[in-house]
Structures are given as structure tokens and as C-alpha cells.
Symmetry: C3
């Protein structure tokens, strides 16, 4: 799911806040339903929070680490499977779809073929062949459970109705996906927040996610009077998937926040300390990173609750919650 | 368990079909019982379906991936353990036996020592040292939960009381065990189906599993008027564990089914597309492969239910189900 | 937890024995509480028994294999994280602390920096950054759940109020931690048992754990008339973490027990057969190793029950159990 599926971000946010305030209100809504969590990539927060959220809703949960529990999958249509891929997505996802009512999938982009990633070939193949409702645990282009958790965190800490939010690029040692900044931009704009995006030239994001944001290369200007500063690395879109060379001075430090005395610092984690963000900031009261992570529980709870209600409605059942 | 343990295949099949029709009929029968699932090899269907079946029956389930969660085991009697094996099967299985009421084990054959594999040394060592009822999640010589699922699938799709079934060897890039074809033959014959087995010369199966089947090297003849065609690779018994060289033309395609217009196609999965079976067949209405996988849930449910009832009887309890 | 946290070893032992005799007495005490089990190292007994104990108490349990499910952690304060460690303990543990009520951690010593290990830097960092009650699943210096299980086993098999216990060093192919012998000595002494420790010169343990024990290099003398003989390898403290060279003749065999006709043999497992302990001993009625492993269930149950009661008391709830 992306905001494409969420026409009412504000309503979903309210539901998440209500569930956090009263977790018992949806305690058994998922009883009898099976959730399969399929990881094609490693995970800490997503793994723990999504399983916990689902169990809190009464669901049965099973986790599959595809490559270590099972084997490598083939995604190519028409492939002659005489190499190292042991099972085609058609069968692997087809079978998983037979077992579960809802399927969560983590599928990072390959960062080699931009079209394949932008088209979400892996996620969509799972969606097609499982033929079941899919929950994104971060896909090639989006990380919606993170963005909703970010929105919850901002709602809890904002003193303004329309805070100024700055998304600032940060250096990193690896080439990272654009899923988090894309999703973040999409959700902040859908929530009608004032969003500034700042990065070195050459790191432009996909405009389809950022339309409505103020985009600049001037970090000082973007951070000025910001209420929330979201720090995140991403790799280049052109040439696609290449790590940006240089930019070490984009490390965010307290020193850069002289004109943003109220700014809270956000990051989706894992964060590279003293590369993306300085220790002094992460260890200061400015930091909301653990609150964001904790709110992953409530974004997952809110989204799973909606998916459960939709399933019940399809089955003609009415639900109390 | 193999058919050796199942004197009444038809009765077990009926139980499985009844459980599929009315899953609630055995919903809590396993409450308070502990199932340990030990994987010495990777697994997708078996892992997901067996855990789900057990939970549906009310059991507690824990999964142990022996090599990644723990360490390598020594199986040799009298070994001086000064190399890389950290724990002897006597202790590892002994401990597991203390924790669980029923233990599921996946233990593929080594394909190096035919006697060791044929004698099921690993599975039997677990059986001996756990001293608990054991559930095969595919062992060196058999895959009974798969074969029962195959039987369920045939029962659901057969228009005849005694369908013609052809088990046809297929090429593969790796040397695979004979467990699936052995088990399949054993169960189909126990169910009194008409079984034809066809393969290139040199790929003879163990006659103790195939006695009663019509065995040939002529694929065209074996497939003619078949109701069900089971496609499967296996490696040679002599020399043991060697992959068959050649045989690429044994790939099953629609073209080969001109004399079998009604034939449904089966495979235990994972399948190598366009090596064992063509895309056109797997993607056609002939294919039952996902139904077979789904029925793994019900073969596991039926077998676990029987094991639970046996445990209760030993404990002098009567059970409603 | 070590004995530092347990002023009343005898009382805890009684609780464990009572729980074993009447498992239902605490069946739902942990309902609604979340236990996270974090493994930085492999595990068989600890993994299975702790999860099972927690579920028996009604807790929700989630397991995280840090390196295979997630990624490598940085522990250095002030590190510039531009290498292979993806997340700092401050965030990783901080997040885990937000999700769970109690956190179990297995963190073996590195065996390179004695001060770091002796100070329990990893365990204490988790304790600090999770800010939640921590359960040791074996840390750098202690393995309390094992030692309590050992105490239960001795209580069940001892004919004397104050049995003679000999802890005898055994050879091994790897350099192993001192956590088990340290913990064992600490708990046996806290229980006022007569403890003899015997090892080749150069393998002295940390006196802070062994004060009160009779320490010798004469294996024959130490074993004489022993009621329980605990066999265990450990590496050197000086030079730190070095495997002892030689000592093959410290392998314990039946032949060495002529003066200890009543002695029962104990080992925490996994054991190297015919390196640490002979087959004849492990396969004889002298061996208690499987009983020890089974009692891990009851040491975990007793300790988790106490932690749950403490949590309830903090929250002002009274508990029936």
C-alpha cells in the first residue's frame, strides 16, 4: 500500500492514534486470520513491530526468511531455470497465497534496473501470484508503514497545525534505495505539511513523489526554522543506483541547527552515527528516532486493522471494531 | 511415517477430506501439546503448512533450523569429536525429545552412501534419541505428507474410481533424492491406483516402493490416456546419487500430451520451469501444482490429528474429535 | 541476572521445583507481556527452553537472530560508522526496549579483551539502552539459567544435604568462555555445596566467582568420593582467551571414577564426545546431562515468573500466583 491506496491520510492517522491510546479496542479483530511475513531482505524494526501488531490484533503470524529458510527465486517470465534459482515466483508466491489471508513482503530494489524497480516488479509479481491483499514491509519505491509512523510521531510532537518539515540528504557508505524519502515526501504532502527537500545537485528524487515540496540545494536555508528535520541518505536516480561521491559535509550536526532551535530530528533507522547524524544530535532531546520506531507498532496496527476489516467486509461479516 | 505405518490409506484420505471440509472439527484437539519442527534442510511449503496445521489443531509449535540457529551435528557412533561438529545427535535429539511431545524432522539423504540413506540413519537416530513420536517432513527415502497431499488432490480431481497415473522422470540441474517418487509410488499403489512409471534406462527406482507399478522407458506409451501425470526428477541409484547425464528431451510439454487430452499435471514443487515442465503446462488449467501445495495443509492436519489422538490414548484420555 | 541478583538461591530453587511439580500454578501469569529473545550467538537448549517456558507462562515471545535476521551492530561509543556495522547498539537496543517488557540476550565474550568481557560491555549496553529488565541467555561472564538448572538437577539426584561436587576442566578443540564454570561455581557456593575445582595449572578461574571452593590441580583427589562431577572446558584467563595446549589426558573416563562409585556426571552441553567425556560415561546411568537440559525449562520458568511478578508489582498489580 502507498498513499495511492490511502485517500484519507488524516483519518488513518486518527485511527492509529486511537489504537495507541486504546490498544484493546481492536484486540481480537483478526482472530482466525493468517498473516505471512516474507522477507527478501534483512529487517529489525519492521520484523518485530509488524509481527507484534498482528498478534495484538489476534492474527496468527508466520515469518519466512526466503533465502535462508527456503531458497533463491526466479522472477523472469519464460526463464529456462537451469541455474541457481530453485523456484519461480509464480509457484513460490502462488503457494504462499494459498496459505495466508494477508501477505507482508519486504523487497528492496535491486538498484540496477530503474524501470524494474520503479515498476515494483517484485512486489507486483507477489501481488499477482499470491492473489491476496499485500502489505508493504518496504518495497522498491515505498515504505508506507514507516511514513505513517513518521506522521504519528510528528502529530505527537508538533506544536503547529502545519509544521515546517525539512528532508535533508545525508552521506552514507552504501548506495541506499529512495523508498524512504519517496514515501516520506508522499505522506507529508498528503498530510498537507510544509515540506522542504534539500540535497546536493544530482540527487533529485522522482518528482511524482515530491510534487508540492520546496526543493533546494541550500541546506542552511532548508533547515531554518524547521520544526522537524528528517535525515536520510539515498542513492542517485541518474546514473541509477550509484552512491553519491562526496557530500561528507552534509552530516547533520548541532552546529547546523543554530537557526532551527526548535527542530526535532528524525530518522527511520538504522542510522550511521557520525556519518549521517552526529552523536550529539542522536543523544539529545531533539531526537525522535526511538519514538518513530515505537510508532511502527501503531502504524502496522492501524493498517492491518483496515485490511482485516476489508477482508471481513468481502466475506459479508460485520465487525464490532 | 510411511505407508508402513498407515494400513488404511483410504481411511486417512477420508479423514483429511473431512478435516478440509470442516476445519473446526479438530480445532483444539492438540491444546497443551508441543510440536518441535527441526529442519536440517531448507523448506518452504513444508515449513509453512506444517506449522499452520499444528497451530490450527491448537498445538504450540517451535521451529529449529539446526545449522543456522544452532550448529552442525555428529552422527557417527563412537566419533572422537575433535573437528567441526559441535554436538552429537545423541545429545541434540535427546534434548529435543525432552522438550516436545511430537517432533517433525526434515533430513534429506546425503546421496553418497546408499545404505546409510536407505536405512534412514539420520531419521532413525532422531527417532531413537528423542524417544518421541516423529513426523517426517521428508526424510532420505520418503515424503509422506507430500504423498498424502497428492492423494487428496487426485481424489478431488479424479473422474474415475481408479485413474491412470503416470510418474514421469524429468531432467534437472542437480542430483535430487528419490524420496518423492518412492513415496508417491508407495502411496498411489496403496490406494490401488493404476500407476505407470517411466524414465530413461539407468534411473530404476527401488523396487520395494514400486512393486505393482507398470515400469517402462517409453514416455509416449506411459502418458497415453493418463488422467494424472506426476513429473519429477530423481538421481541414479547405481552409481548412487549421480545426476543422470542427458535426458533434456524428457522435459514435459503440451506437445507430448496429444494422446492424453484429459491429463492433469502434478509436481511436488519447487519445479524448474522449462527444464522439468514447460511454462505452457504449468500456466494451463491442466496444472494442479498449487492445489497439491494447498493440500499439504490438510495432509499435515490429518496426520498430526492421528498422532495427537494416539498420544491421548497412551495417556488414557478420550478425545471428542 | 547472576547470584548478585539472587540473595535467596534456596528459595528460587524451591520455586523452580514447585513449578516443575505443578506447571499449571503459573500458567497465565505472563499474559499480555512481551518477551524478546535476542541471539548474538547460536543456541539450541536456551532457545527452545526459554521460548517454551515463556509461552507456558502466557507471554508472547519473539525471537531475533541479530546477525541473520537483521545486521551487525556497532558497540563503540563515538564510532564513525563508515564500515560494515549497520546500526549502533544505542538504536538497536533502544528500539527493542520500546517493543518488549522483558528482553533475553545471548552475548558470548569476544575472548580478546578481558576487561571488556569481564565488564559485560555488551550485556550492560543492552541493559542500558533497552531500559528494560534483562534476562541472561548466557553472557560473557555468566550462564545463570544453566546454573539454576544444574542446581535443580543436583537437588533431584542428591542423597545428601551437602553433596561433594567436583568441577573438572576438560579438553576441547576450541577456546571456550569461562561463563559456565564461573556461574556454576557461584551458584554451587551460594547453595552451600562442597565445591572442588580442578584444572591444569594456568587455567585458574576468576577468584571472585570461586571464593570458597577447594581448588587443586590433582584430578584424582578432586574426584574421590564426589557425588557430582561437572565436566567443562574453558580457555585461559592469562593470556586471555587462549586455548590450553595439551591436557588431552583430562578427558573424563569411567576408569577415573574408581574412587567415585556414586558420582553422577554433569555437563551443560553441547559436549565433545571422547574429547571432554567418554561415550561410556555419557551413555551410562551416571549421566545427568539430559536431565540438566530438561531442567532448563524449569529454571527459565522460575526466573521469568519472578521477573513477571516484579513487573506487576511495579505496575501496582497484585498477582494470584
Amino acid at each position: 500500500m502507498g498513499t495511492a491506496d490511502v485517500s484519507d491520510v488524516q483519518q488513518l492517522l486518527d485511527e492509529a492514534l486511537n489504537l495507541k491510546a486504546d490498544p484493546q479496542s481492536a484486540a481480537d479483530i483478526g482472530a482466525g486470520l493468517k498473516l505471512g511475513l516474507v522477507f527478501l531482505n534483512p529487517s529489525l524494526r519492521t520484523r518485530l513491530s509488524t509481527e507484534m501488531a498482528a498478534k495484538n490484533l489476534g492474527m496468527d503470524v508466520q515469518v519466512l526468511n526466503m533465502s535462508s529458510d527456503a531458497w533463491a527465486m526466479e522472477f523472469e517470465e519464460g526463464a529456462i531455470m537451469n541455474a541457481d534459482k530453485a523456484e519461480h515466483i509464480k509457484e513460490a508466491a502462488g503457494v504462499i497465497g494459498r496459505y495466508f489471508d494477508i501477505i507482508g513482503l519486504r523487497s528492496f530494489p535491486g538498484l540496477k534496473d530503474r524501470d524494474a524497480d520503479d515498476e515494483e516488479r517484485i512486489f507486483k509479481a507477489f501481488e499477482k501470484y499470491t492473489a491476496k491483499p499485500m502489505l508493504s514491509l518496504e518495497s522498491a519505491t515505498r515504505h508506507p508503514l514507516q511514513s505513517l509512523a513518521d506522521l504519528i510521531t510528528i502529530a505527537e510532537h508538533s506544536k503547529k497545525k502545519r509544521p515546517k518539515i525539512a528532508l535533508t540528504w545525508a552521506p552514507h557508505v552504501k548506495a541506499l534505495p529512495q523508498a524512504v524519502p519517496h514515501s516520506f515526501a508522499e505522506w507529508m504532502l498528503a498530510a498537507c505539511h510544509e515540506l522542504h527537500i534539500v540535497h546536493p545537485p544530482g540527487l533529485e528524487l522522482d518528482p511524482s513523489f515530491t510534487d508540492g515540496a520546496i526543493i533546494t540545494h541550500n541546506q542552511e536555508e532548508a533547515l531554518e526554522d524547521a520544526d522537524f528535520i528528517y535525515v536520510k541518505n539515498w542513492s542517485m536516480r541518474e546514473p541509477y543506483g550509484k552512491a553519491y561521491e562526496g557530500g561528507a559535509d552534509w552530516l547533520l550536526t548541532e552546529d547546523k541547527l543554530k537557526q532551527a532551535p526548535e527542530a526535532k530530528i528524525m530518522h527511520c533507522l538504522p542510522v550511521r552515527r557520525n556519518v549521517e547524524l552526529s552523536d550529539e544530535l542522536l543523544d539529545s532531546p531533539r531526537s525522535l528516532v526511538l519514538d518513530q520506531a515505537e510508532n511502527r507498532l501503531w502504524s502496522a496496527t492501524a493498517v492491518l486493522r483496515r485490511m482485516i476489516i476489508e477482508l471481513h467486509e468481502k466475506q459479508g461479516r460485520t465487525v464490532g471494531a
